[in-house]
Symmetry: C2
DNA sequence: GTTTTTGTATGATTTGAATCATATCTTACT
DNA sequence: AGTAAGATATGATTCAAATCATACAAAAAC
């Protein structure tokens, strides 16, 4: 992804190494850098009314909080959920670069992709059965109905807005019903949809 | 909002008048125009697996399917849910205009705003109690805890991912518990949060 | 290597939202 | 004005997910 960035920008990036659980930025502060996560994992979170932490997004690779490029302040918190390596681009330089060589087009396409992803997520969370959400996720996030889970099933449960108990149960039920296959690999679990429906 | 668009573009717009229930575009087709809804209401929808229609978004004013500007095909359907007036901008002209006078910055900010809205929506739909979703909606979509409902409560229920029965009941319960006020006006219902929490 | 923590898994119970049913009120249509 | 259609409202019932509890395996920490 970074290969689409102009060299001028790449030269200005600073590499940031963070351990698990270290904070990256907090809600309300003014963005100075735009971060690109190279490896590891970052979570975007927010506090609920009772102080519970709500995870908005788990990211393994890519730009974080794209909207911060033109925002006066962050609208969520970010912390490393795993040891991570990031590239930090000065916001000012990044914004200047947008006007050069049609770089803005790259950025707009990236934002558009994020919008599509979020719309899918919204549609998914509006489904009220666990199996519907699982299947929808495989259909929209997976490639040809196959999805490699990033991280644990428990973390995936949070993303799907389900309790982990329900997710375990429903996954096994769907497997018994031959609606999907669960392939456990060393690194990660892989899910494959046993397709009936077209599309 | 259109006042931020350059004149060159405004001159190229075509006005489109559509009656309620008329389709605007369908998923899979190639976008030729970028639509701005002036008045009325448009719904972005998608089909579920069993053919049920799922409403992704109800819009009363603003650009529709912003991602279509750089998309090969629409990723959802759109139809007028009320008699509507729209402005249609040729995609090609719009994209060319992005490079002029830093217009891309306006567009990026608009996309960023949409991303924030969608993130809020995702966070809201991940809440599993009806009252939590209602309160979260007032906090994030409302101004200072006050929200004027666009359309019927029934339509709002769909947006919140709740059955309309549950929404009616929960609204009245929250009112009894003095957590919010319901003000019925001629045109629309207005909801006001009886604040306890800071922020 | 041992301990501790975290993820996986499943059973029992509770809870709250969906659903079905029905009634009234409002709005749109003719 | 009169009728039809849709929104509002509430009760009864069902159902599925959350929660609580517990057990075991795997991974991390020491």
């Amino acid at each position: 992804m970074l290969d689409q960035l102009p060299n001028t920008l790449l030269q200005q990036r600073k590499t940031v190494q963070l351990e698990a659980n270290q904070p990256l930025f907090i809600q309300g502060t003014k963005p100075k850098f735009l971060y690109f996560l190279e490896e590891g994992e970052v979570q975007l979170t927010r506090c609920g009314q009772q102080g519970e932490t709500c995870t908005l997004q788990r990211i393994q690779q890519g730009f974080l909080a794209e909207a911060s490029l033109f925002a006066e302040h962050y609208h969520c918190d970010a912390h490393c959920s795993k040891k991570s390596r990031l590239s930090a681009f000065p916001i000012k330089a990044f914004r200047q670069q947008l006007g050069q060589d049609g770089f803005y087009e790259v950025w707009i396409q990236l934002l558009s992709k994020e919008i599509k992803r979020l719309r899918n997520q919204g549609q998914r969370l509006a489904l009220n059965s666990a199996s519907d959400r699982i299947i929808h996720c495989l259909q929209t996030e997976g490639e040809n109905g196959v999805l490699r889970l990033q991280g644990s099933i428990k973390e995936w449960a949070a993303e799907l807005g389900l309790s982990h108990e329900t997710l375990y149960r429903t996954l096994h039920r769907l497997q018994k019903q031959k609606q999907l296959e669960i392939v456990k690999q060393k690194t990660a679990t892989q899910l494959k949809l046993t397709m009936h429906c077209p599309t």
